[in-house]
Symmetry: C2
């Protein structure tokens, strides 16, 4: 099920209820962490050739056991692979998620700045906002940014 299927809810066609919106938001909340991890692992891999648990934990501002547990979940979901005491790497699925997330992140930051948000605040807020931006909204952002050169 894609983001936009979710975004449409389960209604026959027209109406969208409050419950649909909240259910959608809850669904996204549960994938937000995976998005953060895959994006970060991609960054670290590019920078250092691999993503070490310690680096992941430090960048996210959590302890290593927390990062380790999250990586176990990533592996279980087929988004990452790793051998004991070694670096973490993304699977193709994980890399695809990372690419998508990164593109979304950049677009959100660009749009915020375009409407006058200071760059620092834009970066800060985008970290949370990006997860909730649907394909439809993303397209609108693109169109808006196009239309103003």
């Amino acid at each position: 099920m894609s983001r936009d299927d979710l975004a449409q809810g389960t209604e026959t066609a027209t109406e969208t209820t409050d419950a649909d919106r909240f259910t959608n938001a809850r669904a996204i909340r549960s994938t937000a962490l995976f998005e953060d991890y895959t994006e970060l692992i991609a960054d670290l891999t590019e920078e250092f050739g691999e993503a070490r648990i310690t680096d992941i934990a430090r960048r996210l501002g959590v302890t290593h056991p927390t990062a380790n547990k999250a990586v176990l979940r990533l592996k279980r979901e087929g988004l990452a692979i790793s051998r004991p005491y070694r670096g973490v790497f993304l699977t193709e699925a994980g890399a695809a998620m990372a690419r998508e997330v990164k593109a979304r992140h950049r677009l959100v930051v660009r749009l915020l700045i375009a409407v006058g948000v200071p760059p620092d605040a834009a970066e800060m807020d985008a970290e949370g906002i990006e997860h909730y931006v649907s394909e439809t909204t993303l397209k609108a952002f693109e169109a808006y940014l196009e239309g103003r050169g």
Copy 2:
């Protein structure tokens, strides 16, 4: 601690680290549910004179036990009050949160529509986005909407 204190992180002044951003996002994630509940309770109280657990649960798309447990947390945090088998009401603190959240929600929806997001998608995405919009960004949204009449 306010949203913007959080948004500044614990840095001395200038630099904002990745960890600050993620820690900020996590902090907001943990208050998002309270925001949803207070806003909804305010709505229901206005509509029906009180907020019943059943109505809260239905609008959020969760079961009553889940809503009940959340209300217990709200009460523990001093945001709501209720007597057994009776409606739920907001405290002054809860009502203040509801007002703030509602204002933020409206502004986010207006901005999304202003940049070309279809109203349906704007409503849907705002449900998640609104929680992550800082005061700074909110001010920028206001200025942007002012500046285009």
